[in-house]
Subunit: 458 residues, 4 copies
């Protein structure tokens, strides 16, 4: 069966049916479609298009289908054109002719927009919760390793000593922006499009505010032509997920580096590592690599929908069918990435001795030394030059700066005093930080506490 056909003299070509068929993709919208239809029935009753009795009959049947769909046992005809048609078939089989009154004052144009928006809202909520879980795991890891100092890197060169917790909290910040962004996106997803019908609205006096309330939408769309052709909310959501994926790729990159023998700051327990079919000794961070690699698909999905929409005339065009595949893939990958991160983080093993070894390099404290010279009255650029020279000489002579006597240091930089020399202690280096947001352990501790409150774990 089809939801159209009167004006067609011949049946659709089978190849065309196969080509335009979308059920394989859109069947996962079934629960949203059914919820939308239940609300539509109630709205049609309110508009006196359906009698109360018809309404009850339809709602009952749709509710039954919904419970089947929720349990994954709904028996959609695999040959139906799309999920809307497949559900209609089931409904008509159950309630007979009255089913034919359901598609009044609506079109698949506004119906699919509704389904996608309901789906989008649910996914955002889910992803936000997952982000919170990952954040909690990171904060817990940070708290448990507050005293661990590591080199902070710029240009992948050791830059300054920071605490591991400080770096972990940087990830928490990144993820928080993802949450905030999703929240913003949600405001624009949270708009009821139905009542727009095909593109022009409907002559049936639908109470759209009522329908919005039934479905939990905060607003109704204000222009019917816009409502059926708008896919901003899909693009926005994909952009937010692309950024989130980019963040995950950066975290993964850091940890892949740290898991290398060369950095050696992190170890994956056997249960979270994978081996090689050829090389017996290998223990690989495949999980992290897969997270990093999924960024490709996430960027691709964003470009896919942007491309579809480029230069598309108003209003609805069938090109839009392709938005679903991209949106579904991006949501699925995101869920998987966050789930595995949440599971992995508590099992990460920080190699404390290696961390201690790495931060003992006095060159890491060069900036602190220069800042100390500033406190002693030197212009920063002079201090910078003097310390830079010290580093160069030390490297030339193959002697660490910590092996130099104060007198030797003063030959190059007379302003160096006892206090300055003590900065070669990495702990002193972080403790002397004074700016808000810095790696000062006291500030990091406060940040942990702040996050615990924000994330509801304190």
């Amino acid at each position: 069966m089809k939801l159209w056909g009167g004006r067609f003299a011949t049946a659709t070509d089978e190849a065309v049916e196969r080509f335009t068929h979308s059920l394989a993709f859109d069947q996962r919208l079934a629960t949203y479609d059914l919820r939308g239809s239940i609300a539509h029935v109630k709205t049609l009753v309110k508009a006196h298009v359906l009698t109360r009795r018809e309404g009850t009959q339809l709602v009952r049947a749709l509710t039954l289908l919904l419970s089947q769909a929720e349990r994954g046992v709904i028996d959609l005809n695999p040959h139906a054109e799309d999920v809307h048609t497949a559900i209609h078939e089931l409904l008509e089989r159950q309630v007979g002719e009255v089913a034919r009154k359901l598609h009044t004052a609506r079109s698949r144009n506004d119906q699919v927009a509704l389904d996608l928006r309901l789906y989008g809202k649910a996914e955002i909520l889910h992803v936000e919760t997952q982000i919170t879980h990952v954040q909690r795991a990171l904060v817990r890891l940070a708290k448990a390793h507050q005293e661990v100092l590591i080199p902070g890197y710029t240009h992948l060169q050791r830059a300054q000593v920071v605490s591991l917790a400080h770096q972990l909290l940087a990830y928490v910040e990144m993820l928080q922006r993802d949450c905030d962004r999703l929240q913003d996106v949600c405001v624009r997803v949270d708009v009821l499009p139905t009542g727009s019908a095909a593109l022009a609205g409907t002559a049936i006096p639908l109470d759209r505010q009522y329908q919005a309330k039934l479905l939990g939408f905060s607003r109704v769309s204000d222009n019917s032509m816009d409502a059926v052709s708008d896919r901003d909310f899909v693009v926005e959501l994909l952009a937010a997920l692309a950024i989130l994926g980019m963040h995950c790729s950066r975290i993964a990159e850091d940890w892949i580096l740290w898991c290398s023998m060369e950095f050696g700051l992190l170890e994956l327990p056997d249960r979270f590592a994978t081996g090689s079919s050829a090389m017996p000794q290998k223990k690989n961070p495949d999980v992290l690599e897969l997270i990093r690699g999924s960024t490709g698909a996430l960027y691709g999905d964003l470009i896919a929908v942007l491309t579809i929409l480029k230069g598309l005339p108003l209003t609805y065009n069938r090109d839009l069918q392709h938005d679903k595949r991209a949106l579904f893939e991006a949501c699925d990958l995101t869920r998987q990435n966050l789930a595995i991160l949440e599971r992995l983080i508590p099992h990460l093993r920080v190699r404390r001795e290696q961390a201690a070894r790495l931060v003992s390099d006095p060159r890491l404290m060069a900036t602190e030394l220069a800042e100390q010279l500033v406190s002693n009255g030197m212009a920063f650029q002079e201090a910078h030059r003097a310390v830079g020279e010290l580093v160069r000489l030390a490297e030339q002579q193959g002697r660490a700066l910590t092996d130099w006597s104060l007198a030797e240091l003063q030959q190059i930089a007379p302003a160096i005093d006892e206090e300055a020399v003590q900065l070669f202690d990495p702990l002193r280096a972080v403790q002397m930080k004074q700016s808000s947001g810095s790696t000062n352990p006291v500030l990091v501790q406060r940040a942990i506490a702040r996050w615990e409150r924000a994330l509801g774990t304190r």
Copy 2:
């Protein structure tokens, strides 16, 4: 001169200098860099790193440079490594050694983040204003053509009668979402990153809240490592501009179609059209095509920065230098597109007779006819089938439905009555719409009034 060098035994290779040189790009950040430095001087005075006297001297010199930069007459050394270095050179030439104290408690890592954020905020403000202007022009055009009815299209096939104003207001809605999105982005741009120094914060007791207030930021960043490696705000802004560009491409597409001889709904005045060097009769909508084509660059810029950030380890890496080129291009293209749209819209000539000709096709009212049959008690799907059959027969016989007698119509669809037949009048078709957001002229008029208030033109 360089802002670094003490640890280097030999001078930089000239090819490397050329390759890493960024002044050609980042010089347009000069005013923002100078504003940042002025605030930094004041903060260093407050932190007692500079004396009040040194502070005054530096602020005076920087203010002079700022006024030069604002007038586009600042004399930056074209061979300087970047804008920060070039400004430093000028400053040192003016005030001598004290200039060397300025680069205390900061790094180019947080400095360039500051500059970019100041730039981003200014651009967002500008683009928002431009959008408002374009919206006003659209609302004015809509108001002036309220009674013009046109075919609304789905699948580029005539679908239902709508008012031109209704379609123009759909564009206004799209642009409003762009404004809202930019507003949301701005919240995440509006964060002071300085004080993070290279990545770890600083031992100088900088009052970052004070600096934020001086520079008009609402918040300070909470984690120094995140602050120097975060470019979310660039990606987000680029995503918002890509969507805005996509909207412009859809508007351009509609109007290019309407400007074709075949659609004929719109005419560009000679002043806004361009000719062909080969074909004497041509009058082309190049302006609209260039808007549509610029979408490519906008999408490309978004992908560029997403690609740069993929898998980048914390914290700052020089890869980030390439974000500026993309951001600048996207902002420039957006400004140009909006400026020309604002200028063009008031001069668009709507071809009313052609509009009237197009909407006289009774097939456009098929949906209204079906809905009328529903009001007469028919199930919608029956009504749909009956009307579809009418259309098919009319096409087969080559006779417009308006040429059929009521009796003839009733042979196919007995439920058709006098009232239904009157729906072949396009004005009746739009007037009978009852749903909010529909093309009903009364609702459209109210929407115009609402927009006039919102856009401050009423």
Copy 3:
């Protein structure tokens, strides 16, 4: 079971198994994997790692599995890590311990590269054949409508008269470049990577040339590290499919325009059109829109793999697993698009009367008129100006140029003579073309013949 594990003290976490699981994607590589394994067995026999008897036993078992895989009835364990492991399980179940000798001198790193290359070669061959079919259909359509003249468009404005066949042959040219490109790509796909083992090659004296010959490869890879980390061939293939998809989107756009009531040059038979669930009269070119919309996914897939590879250190990294999903999707979409185009083209109905109506507009011949004036000795730019003025005056007066007397025309452009006036006949306009590649009907006829020969239909 796993192809690794000896160095691991504990079992893999179940969530990790699920996350790294790739069978759902890579099972479609089963036939290629089996073909590769058969060749590998033979090569191991030649290297005396397997006895002749073991070889026969393994080949027999693998051949059986291959025939099952080809018929789609192979019973892969859905919980296996990947297709390689799943096949190994089946094999071991069949032949017992000897199966454990198969994974000698290879790694999944070179094995999956082999599978992907075999898959890529097969897909290229298939797509090339499909393109040829579409080209044939286009040439047939062109031949059947050789005398139909239509407006050629630039800027979507009517530009000059061309023959429909000429435009259809433009598509054939575009598609031919796609074929040529795929041919070029194939040369770089057609390289045997196995023998590279994990990354360094193997101590087993594998005869790689022999294996290449068995599998139909033209070359063997020259560097083992490159061989396991190279995915250029995937990116190249995706780029070629993206361009092919772009071509299809341009064809689809043209035809969607032509199917609009306004252009009216083309009609889809009912069997190839689709209807609306809301609007009874609608007949939509969904097929063409879906083709156009699929460009999004094709571009996205290209970006996906480019993103994955950006900044990836040598050699193999698990990120690469994500290349398969993108490649498979792009190949599938391409196949579907070409299949439906081949099926659709013979059924396109050209509306000849409408074509005749459109080309009767004398403004379409303005360029021909100007060129005629050049033949009469005028400088082209003078001729251009004069004809342009004629067009302007004709529009101002609302009189078509064909309605002007020769005397009237000569008042503006004295060089116009009887011959020039005859150019207002569209057929004359195309017939006077002299440059190779032009729309002159004689040349178009020759081009059709040339294509018929090239495509093997003559």
Copy 4:
């Protein structure tokens, strides 16, 4: 002045002129445009549209302008619409009215296609030469370090010993594919589009083969409509440059890793490193990071042109103007990247002692050990398991495998013999490789010799 205008009653709006202005971009096409015009003059003479005398006059003037353009001193009017118009102005100033005959039988549509193709061919040639230079530098570096062994990595975990030269030659292979690809692209760039005029060809009997020969094209386009709307060659070139950029990003990533303190395999001389304005000790590989970061722009440029072309109806549309900016940027970035790589490579300092230290880890030889056990008759998977267990036990006990006695080893893996133990010598590990393309030093030496011949340095 304009190349059009007769049909326009009023002058173009200034804002429109600014918006459609393309000279700022396309002026770099000046030399190509002039070469094209010289050939066009000669072809017009051959077609008797110009007298021999007019031809000589025009060629002389154009040749003068060409020599100015080549020296960068051509005085193009900055307010001209585009480069074609600007050159026309100069020409008319020089030779007067006869200039107006030049624009016969051509259009800017085919003219700009010609310019872009000439530009593309020249760029491809240049980039190919640069690639060869980089390859030579890599081969030289490989040859000078043939005996240096390093860990080869998969998943960024140490995998097997390889020679540094082997990895460097992997880069040479990658770059060779780039060359081959560019060669293939060039075949499709190398097609003369002129003579297609606006879209339909021309009534002037242009000898296009003659013009092709004058300009060094191998073929002429076969369909005029395709010729003016085709930008495949731009997309293809951008795709090839994106892949080349991706390769450079992978090389850069490897070397950034190697330059880290942690890997320590590579050192940049001071002249090729850069410092930090904040951290006195820093020595950063900015050059490599900028190369890696430029991948973003290269991918973005590819997406830009693909986006522009998506769904664009035939034939020429002004959207295409935006292709130039993308193409120019990609070519410029590519040239810069290759130039700096060529300059940098000879100065890379390999840290041999660190390499020796890293490859002394016996776990790197686990695969070789397993393969040896296979030679001793064990099934590979048994050998894999046994060696994996050895590695696990060694790690648990904190004792390197090289510290185990043969008896101890045999307790776990009885098949281990004296010969197997000697494989812990990294040199033996590479020497035992037998497959072609492997890291066996003899094979690597031969590969170096082969490349020297291919690159013309032997």
